[in-house]
């Protein structure tokens, strides 16, 4: 599945992008560290950083556990007044057939707490999910800081 919905916005300034494969539990840790670094680049607060890192941890874990592995694109998009961190998780797994169920608190097909997707949606300023059964899933989340 092409991550079209998830292409990072273009912008001026200190842009950077990094793709991290998600194949093992160690990769999930790596994603958390890279997201923390990206959040530091845009000067995010401690609370905002914790929120994004936690959401990234949830989504990376889902990519691994349910998507059968995949990757995340971490983009830092600098603008004049707003600096943004965008994360795009992509996998080519079975996809999600009932999205509203998957986004319901407590719903899990894997014996989890079922709070990862819904939690990530609450934790992030922007949250978008697209999934095609049999093709895969793309989740895009973003956070930003404003400059006066």
């Amino acid at each position: 599945m092409r991550p079209e919905a998830g292409r990072p916005e273009a912008g001026r300034g200190e842009n950077s992008a990094e793709t991290i494969p998600i194949r093992t539990g160690a990769d999930v840790s790596r994603v958390r560290r890279s997201v923390a670094t990206a959040m530091a680049v845009i000067g995010a607060s401690r609370i905002e950083t914790t929120r994004m890192v936690t959401a990234a941890s949830e989504l990376a874990r889902n990519t691994l556990d349910y998507g059968g592995g995949g990757e995340v694109l971490i983009a830092v998009v600098g603008r004049m007044t707003r600096r943004k961190v965008e994360l795009v998780f992509t996998d080519h797994g079975p996809g999600i057939s009932d999205m509203s169920k998957a986004l319901t608190d407590g719903y899990s097909t894997g014996g989890g707490l079922g709070l990862g997707l819904s939690g990530a949606r609450r934790l992030c300023k922007e949250f978008e999910i697209r999934s095609v059964p049999g093709e895969g899933t793309v989740v895009k989340v973003a956070s930003w800081t404003e400059r006066p």
Binding site: G25, S29, R32, R46, I47, T49, T50, R51, V53, T54, S57, E58, R61, D105, G112, L113, L115, G116, S118, G119, R122, L123
Partner: protein
């Protein structure tokens, strides 16, 4: 004694055994396999002699290139011993394989002497020797990697155990300061260590301090909940301490509820709470409770 492969290599090996051994050990010292810093010469000599006699025994009924077969069992065992010795002593994979590869030159020289008037046979025999020794050399590589994996796994395991120490704070109160990522492997060990400590110290209160855990996501929360539930089954109450403001906020946003667990901002308040729960009180002059 030509065999099915038509090779006379087995006969040559036993005829020139002493010479091959001497030249081989010399070659190993030359190419730097004898890492004097890592291994004594006597040990190298012992390993080389032993390997050569196993090699001769394995080929005495004819050369068979299938080194996974029964007749190569003793050679494989010997190579495993030789390789694991080198893994433990810090040799590189190349240095380890060179043990076998350094045997080529001495064998070639014997072949050259033996067949100086018969170049066609010389080429055939040299080819057989090369194929065989390359196979055995690659085999050490496989063993080497396996040995390294074992060591890495063992070290990881040891580190995991070291990094989850359960400390007894007071009579019937134990604490577990968690530091780092609480992945599933580690959560398993944490749970085991903790339950063991609960039994050993007859703990009634277990304090899990997560000040050092950078991210509390739903997987970590689930592990904490399971650990608390298991502690409860053993008759101990669980307190989670060290919940920083940003962690409290994320837990709330995730929608995680911790119904059976008391939570405290820091270890001190958790400890004070635990003392109260176990009925310990202090007066200014003398402690009401002695161990």
């Amino acid at each position: 004694m030509p065999d099915s492969t038509g090779s006379n290599l087995p006969g040559l090996l036993s005829r020139y055994q002493d010479r091959i051994l001497t030249d081989w050990i010399a070659a190993q010292s030359e190419v730097g396999v004898l890492r004097a810093d890592l291994m004594r010469e006597a040990e190298l000599r012992r390993q080389s002699r032993s390997f050569l006699s196993h090699l001769i025994a394995a080929t005495k009924n004819g050369l068979n290139f299938d080194i996974e077969s029964e007749q190569w069992q003793d050679v494989r065992d010997m190579l495993t011993e030789v390789t694991n010795f080198r893994v433990d002593h810090g040799f590189t994979p190349t240095e380890t394989a060179t043990f076998i590869l350094a045997l080529k030159q001495p064998i070639f020289e014997c072949l050259r002497d033996q067949y100086k008037d018969d170049p066609a046979t010389l080429v055939n025999e040299a080819w057989s020797a090369t194929v065989l020794l390359d196979k055995l050399g690659l085999y050490t590589n496989d063993i080497y990697l396996r040995g390294r994996e074992d060591i890495i796994q063992r070290q990881q395991q040891e580190m995991l155990e070291l990094s989850t120490p359960v400390v007894q704070l007071w009579d019937r109160i134990v604490a577990l300061p968690l530091i780092g990522t609480l992945d599933s492997a580690r959560a398993q060990i944490v749970m085991e260590n903790l339950l063991e400590a609960v039994v050993e110290s007859k703990a009634e209160i277990v304090i899990i301090d997560i000040t050092g855990v950078p991210t509390v996501d739903t997987l970590v929360a689930q592990h904490l909940l399971k650990t608390a539930a298991a502690a409860k089954l053993m008759g101990a109450e669980c307190i989670i301490s060290g919940i920083r403001p940003q962690i409290a906020q994320t837990i709330v946003h995730l929608g995680v509820e911790l119904p059976q667990v008391a939570t405290k901002a820091d270890l001190q308040s958790a400890f004070a709470h635990a003392l109260k729960r176990t009925g310990v009180t202090f007066s200014a002059t003398k402690p009401a409770h002695t161990r």
